[in-house]
Symmetry: C2
Subunit: 589 residues, 2 copies
């Protein structure tokens, strides 16, 4: 592509309304433009990235046995009424009436449409397992769209849905999607982790998020380098270790005055002790009943774990009024003397500790010398958010805490939708059963944004080769006629060898051109200037090079049979490898 013809409005300034680096760089490098809040147009360069990602997704979904279909954006309300989500879903579901006064919505997801489709046509286990997927435009009316494509309202998503006759088959399908997702994000050239996650509004029995690792990520992940286990810190299982032996004080608990000292930090500072000597107490509403949750002062309670250990449907912080009535004044809550009707769930981190400080359920008073086992009816579970160095629940080695951006999410749905919508099938024993389902999403635009969050420097994007808009950015430095002819010859030669080349033939200063090349971040930059023209050399610069190390290569090399046969033999495939492929191409040239 000649850059003089390309619709590529780059920007030097950082756009005022873009707070994250991927949003800034997507605007500056001319990949996207805003149409309305959370609604964007993909410009030519941005759409090329989207199409590269979708091509990888399609190949891997097909390889995993998925069949591609295309469902509509506009969905009839009646299907959502069947599943019960037309009312449940909340204001992210954009509902409207058509000209005949019938209710419709813009699809934020397609469980209802696809379940109705399969229900109408599949009657026997012989037609299963069946995995249908689409790559399609979705709409969620986010209250606060932000971060560009990270949290937009209209977005492109790959969503797949599997239907099975029994749990075993659904387990296998879930595993094959797990494998496909690994191949997809590996082929996209991304560092990522699959992590155990909560199921949220989609529902179901189990789910994993695929998180692209980036310091700017919104999600915290506890990852074990030893055994490979990873999970959202809310869910990461922490191995129970016996607490460090602590001298038994033997003292009974006693009141100490702590006027107006409510937070852990305040009390610790007031008493001059470490936060790990305090018991942090939080009161939750668990399916309508109060539960007192305790962790060591330097930890946090995970509501997701609490929900899981109590097999609860809903967990939320309890109302202050109920806390005051049922236990004591807010800010001075503790386990001692709590009515036995109220369950006390303590984290294992408190197990075996004594001589702790806890709220006394009386205003401005704490207790010292508390021994949970002795002084309360606490039960012990794993309910804390995982911390760095916490022992991995699988192998006991220390967790590392990583930041991630969720780009994919797979759900083991079970029969939530098939039951609600009567999607049954006859199994091999002749019984009519609800189909077992799974669903599997990938945010395509978000994957592009996450790739930028993970791969950039202060000058611009550094695209993984497999999803870069072009393989090579060819820069002509100077307007000299002989130079222009030489650059065009190199351009043609590269094209003829199957490379995708962005050729900067514009009548612009070298600084402008090189800045744009830095900003756009194609994997390989080839510059042709007057020195190169004189020496019959060109300059090759892999954009991933942190030090922007330049290498000079004899000009004739690019025309050589060696490059040509190299390209023919490899079909430029090394560019599809993540990691080292790019450098290898630079070296082989």
């Amino acid at each position: 592509m000649l850059m003089s013809k390309l619709f590529l409005p780059t920007m030097r300034e950082i756009p005022a309304d873009a707070n994250v680096i991927s949003h800034q760089l997507m605007l500056r490098a001319g990949l996207i433009r805003k149409v309305a809040s959370g609604i964007y147009t993909f410009l030519p360069l941005g759409l090329r990235v989207v199409k590269k990602i979708t091509a990888i997704i399609e190949q891997e979904m097909n390889r995993a046995g998925g069949q591609e279909i295309l469902m509509p954006v506009v969905q009839p309300a009646e299907l959502w009424q069947e599943s019960g989500r037309f009312l449940e879903y909340g204001p992210e579901l954009l509902r409207f009436k058509d000209r005949k006064d019938t209710w419709f919505c813009l699809g934020p997801t397609h469980e209802e449409v696809v379940t109705a489709l399969v229900r109408d046509h599949v009657k026997s286990y012989k037609s299963l397992p069946l995995t249908l997927y689409q790559i399609q435009t979705k709409f969620r009316d986010e209250i606060r769209p932000r971060f560009g494509l990270m949290r937009g309202r209209e977005f492109i998503m790959k969503d797949a849905y599997s239907f099975c006759a029994d749990k075993k088959s659904q387990d296998e399908t879930y595993q094959s999607m797990w494998d496909a997702y690994h191949r997809i994000f590996e082929r996209c050239g991304l560092q990522f982790r699959a992590v155990r996650a909560a199921t949220g509004s989609i529902g179901g029995d189990m789910s994993h998020e695929f998180q692209v690792l980036a310091q700017s990520g919104e999600d915290a992940i506890a990852a074990c380098d030893h055994c490979g286990y990873a999970a959202n810190v809310e869910l990461a299982e922490v191995r129970v270790k016996p607490a460090l032996a602590m001298a038994q004080s033997g003292l009974p608990y006693e009141e100490i005055k702590t006027p107006n000292q409510k937070s852990i930090a305040e009390v610790a500072s007031f008493l001059g002790i470490g936060e790990d000597r305090l018991i942090k107490a939080l009161v939750f509403d668990v399916d309508g009943r109060l539960v007192l949750a305790l962790v060591r002062g330097d930890y946090e309670v995970s509501e997701a774990k609490l929900k899981s250990v109590l097999s609860a449907d809903a967990v939320s912080p309890a109302d202050d009024k109920l806390i005051v009535e049922g236990i004591g004044p807010v800010g001075f809550i503790g386990p001692v003397g709590v009515n036995r009707d109220i369950r006390i769930v303590a984290d294992f981190s408190l197990h075996g500790l004594n001589d702790m400080v806890a709220g006394a359920n009386k205003k401005d008073i704490h207790y010292a010398h508390v021994d949970l086992g002795r002084d309360s009816h606490a039960e012990f579970f794993d309910i804390r958010k995982a911390h760095a160095l916490d022992p991995c629940g699988q192998c006991g080695e220390a967790f590392t805490i990583l930041r991630g951006i969720e780009v994919g999410h797979i759900f083991y749905l079970g029969t939530k939708y098939s039951k609600a919508m009567a999607a049954t099938v006859q199994n091999e024993h002749g019984e009519v059963v609800d189909m077992e389902m799974g669903c599997y999403g990938i945010g395509v635009g978000r994957t592009a944004a996450a790739a930028i969050e993970q791969n950039h420097d202060d000058k611009g994007i550094i695209w993984p080769a497999s999803i870069a808009p072009y393989h090579i950015h060819l820069v002509q430095l100077g307007a000299d006629k002989e130079l222009a002819t030489a650059a065009l010859a190199i351009y043609d030669e590269l094209l003829a060898n199957g490379f995708e080349v962005l050729f900067d033939d514009r009548d612009e200063r070298a600084g402008v051109k090189l800045n744009d090349a830095d900003l756009i971040g194609c994997p390989l930059r080839i510059s042709v200037g007057s020195r190169g023209l004189k020496n019959r050399e060109f300059e090759v610069l892999p954009s991933e090079s942190k030090h922007r190390a330049r290498s000079w290569f004899p000009w004739t090399m690019i025309m050589s049979q060696r490059l040509r046969s190299y390209c023919n033999n490899n079909g430029f495939l090394v560019f599809s490898d993540c990691g080292h492929g790019r450098q290898y191409v630079a070296q082989s040239i």
Copy 2:
């Protein structure tokens, strides 16, 4: 693809709610399923056809210099208010409010969004001409969705928009799109005509429709086989020929009683004369003024031509009340004695005729012996709809009337949108001018439907090879283990040679399998049965063959080096040719 795994619900019965053949066959062959009125899901086979069509479109749009982008489905009302169309567009534009009470609409077309985009980034003629296109989901809230994908509400469209600094450049771009459209529909294997058309609600100065020829087509086209000119009958230019010499009766016009005889047919029958002896008179409201339009009794007035010859903005049938007040009683309108304030526009077909019968503008009375030139202030123009055998306006040879389905439409917009939305550019003389625009649409789903309307028989679809879901339908006739092994070997061999193969490996009766193959209509059917197994032969049947002529080929041929090298050398490209490619492949096998 193994048919035993494919989600392909075929139907034997003709669906009750499908009135046209393409809709029936798309449902029966498992290409689409209805989700709501005018809203469909593309099933795997249907989506394959869509993707083949879009791939051809993309290649040809890129070849013509187009750059692909992706604009949103959901569009802010403020852009439509700028162009004035938010109110103008009518109820097909589905308008709604988001959760923040801001007005949006579902995009039925994208002139506003793309004009705002280009306006914001293009300032100089040096960046022009620029053609941006997308392939994207659109929504038009049709009052009466019908004919399946022909007139749906949600549909996939390729829409392109060109921006130029002057008319000459826009003329060239229009021509290049004209050429690209020819290549697209040729490559889709369709018989079609580009015809002059009216601009409708998109507006602008000129437009051409691309009509796929099919007897079931809604549109009538006057086509000249001699010079290639074609136009909607509403617009087709008819060459002026001197009327046949008619004996001058010399008689003055005189009243004849025609009680209750209002229509042309009634009057002709009542008087016992041919309809071509009558003057048909219609009254129109042309930009707020009455105009009397006349054609020969056996012709029809074209409102589009009337609008054009009068350079009018709007033409519609006049209100009966105004007709009675201004001219005379409805049913007895004629040119004689009409007030000179009212223009009389007569078709050339009436020029030079005398002794005609016309309404007398009095109830139950006509005039005989009317001579338009002598008895009225009529002006003569070409305002009639073209008929079969009418002389072509370009070369004078006789028109043929064809039926067509509109699959594409290109518009020379001029400055309609750029003026309304202040999309200006500095031209090479330093002047700031409105950009000249064009827009260019193709209905993707409708192209698939039109292909079926044009190419089917009583048993099912006969796909043009380039857009067929699979190249070859391999049918295993029988469940014999040796046969199954042989069929699978042929399947693998075909796949390895780059063919797209749908392999019917199902445990079904031969009749069911062959009926499904007839219904689905892949270009080539290869059947392997017991006779084939015995003789080491397989049966090849091109689906286009009207007589379903079967040919037998030695089995070993398909395994042969000859087929392999044929495929390698041709990359199956003959299948991309329209027309004869398929037969050629059959023969070459």
